[in-house]
């Protein structure tokens, strides 16, 4: 007797009210994951979730690096000389954006982007990923800025005193060291982002939670699809945490052996 037949049999028992509790559990599990090849939907959801995370992270890192560079360059201008006015204006804009983004809930931002700014868009998944990317950019900017500022100023001074210009000193001396310092925070940001893609479902963007909710609506049974989605997120996060640890150990090897 294969699974499909068992399922049919026990489902009938269930409708008659004669099923044991473990038979009921099996039927609910089967409905949530196997019937109509629903596991494919979860898989598709995971795929879209990963892509959305990657897109959001790419946008976040690009924006974050940009904003961090502007803010650091502004803060590190030599005192006693006239400040660069363009840098001042751009820096002020960056500061306002970061404040607004960090000061409002992500859920509200996703809703505004999906229902106000891009209300006529059809690709809500991308709108959601874009929102997450912009949001994460604000956090990444602060992470990178913290990393750049936390480095011993003596490193910058040593580079400059050798006659290297600002850009070369940043490129060869400051950024490689800062990168190592911010990698754990950046990894955490990625993990937060991965989980936060679930919010894309509130504006109808397709990802893992969207498909799970669809299945809930079809089967009128919330437990297995939602717990299943949670388990999938957990597994993904555990995989990425493990990868992050590996990468960090590898980077550490270069300066302590």
């Amino acid at each position: 007797m294969d699974l499909a037949q068992t399922y049919e049999l026990w489902r009938q028992l269930m409708t008659q009210g004669d099923a044991e509790w473990w038979q009921t559990l099996f039927v609910r599990f089967y409905q949530a994951f196997i019937e109509g090849d629903r596991w494919r939907q979860y898989l598709q959801g995971v795929g879209i979730t990963l892509v959305a995370t990657a897109v959001a992270l790419a946008i976040g890192v690009v924006l974050g690096v940009l904003v961090a560079m502007i803010r650091t360059a502004h803060d590190q201008q030599r005192p006693g000389r006239p400040k660069n006015p363009v840098l001042g204006v751009v820096n002020a804009i960056c500061k306002v954006c970061v404040t607004v983004i960090r000061g409002t809930p992500m859920l509200v931002q996703v809703l505004i982007m999906g229902m106000v700014i891009f209300a006529s868009s059809r690709n809500y998944t991308f709108v959601g990923a874009l929102t997450l990317g912009i949001n994460s950019g604000a956090y990444v900017a602060e992470i990178i800025r913290g990393g750049l500022m936390s480095l011993d100023p003596g490193q910058m001074e040593a580079g400059r005193s050798l006659g290297l210009n600002y850009i070369d000193t940043m490129r060869f001396i400051v950024i490689p060291q800062a990168f190592k310092a911010i990698l754990p925070s950046l990894g955490n940001e990625f993990i937060v982002l991965l989980k936060d893609t679930s919010m894309i479902s509130v504006i109808g963007g397709q990802e893992l939670v969207y498909f799970a909710k669809n299945i809930v609506n079809r089967t009128f049974d919330a437990m297995f699809p939602l717990v299943g989605a949670a388990v999938i997120y957990l597994i993904l996060v555990m995989i990425f945490t493990w990868l992050q640890g590996k990468l960090e150990r590898r980077l550490r090897q270069s300066d302590r052996r």
């Binding site: 490193q155 040593a158 005193s161 006659g163 290297l164």
Partner: protein, 240 residues
């Protein structure tokens, strides 16, 4: 070689250097001593514009470096600087620490820079450390590498900011030997130090600073044996 005119520097309301004028001739080894907070490190850092002077001018080799239009990177290439805390680049091997600046500033090709690094490392007895990382070295070794790194740019003047203050006493000797050798070769040097012994051995002139002023200056012999200023006398009686 270095001409300082009416140099003042303040951090906020705190006046650290007060109208200092001083001339440093080629080949001179000027040693600056003084109590903490006397402005001696700030004075040294002003010479290569790690601190921007509030007032006054500094001329180096005929170029006014305090001019906002001056190419500060070009000027710094000719002024080596050694720091109290070494400031080696921990993310690079010793060889790359030494060759990075000469190669990036197009002073030398990579090959020539590598040869220069090897020759300089041999001179300070650390040639076997070329492929090590800074974290594998002792303080004294790090400081000798830092001196070599500055020398690789073939500077006209070397600035030392308390080069032995962060070292174990037994490491100080090796670093001082390198500095003495450099002095004997005729390098122009400006050294801020707490080490009275090195002031005597390396210096051709000693400046005593206190409260942002140069209180007294003389040859090492005269300075230590017959200090004139009462402030100098009390300082020396405490440290000697």
């Amino acid at each position: 070689m270095i001409d300082v005119k009416h140099l003042s520097k303040s951090f906020g309301d705190n006046l650290v250097l007060d109208d200092i004028s001083e001339h440093i001739a080629p080949g001179e080894k000027v040693v600056i001593i003084g109590p903490s907070g006397s402005g001696k490190s700030t004075f040294l850092r002003c010479l290569n514009l790690l601190e921007t002077p509030t007032k006054g001018t500094i001329t180096f080799d005929g170029m006014e470096i305090t001019d906002p239009k001056a190419d500060i990177d070009k000027i710094r290439q000719q002024m080596g600087m050694v720091f109290q805390h070494f400031n080696l680049f921990p993310n690079m091997t010793i060889r790359r620490n030494i060759t990075l600046a000469p190669v990036r500033t197009k002073l030398m090709g990579q090959e020539e820079a590598d040869d220069t690094a090897t020759a300089l490392l041999k001179r300070v007895g650390l040639e076997e450390k070329a492929d090590a990382y800074p974290s594998q070295l002792s303080g004294g070794q790090k400081q000798r590498i830092a001196i070599v790194r500055a020398l690789a740019m073939k500077p006209k003047v070397m600035l030392f900011d308390e080069p032995t203050s962060a070292l174990d006493p037994e490491m100080v000797g090796a670093v001082l030997d390198v500095m003495k050798e450099l002095a004997n070769e005729g390098m122009t040097m400006v050294v801020v130090t707490h080490e009275m012994g090195s002031a005597r051995e390396v210096g051709s002139r000693v400046l005593f600073m206190d409260g942002g002023h140069i209180m007294e200056q003389n040859t090492p012999q005269e300075f230590f044996d017959h200090p004139q200023n009462p402030r100098t006398q009390s300082f020396l009686s405490k440290v000697l």
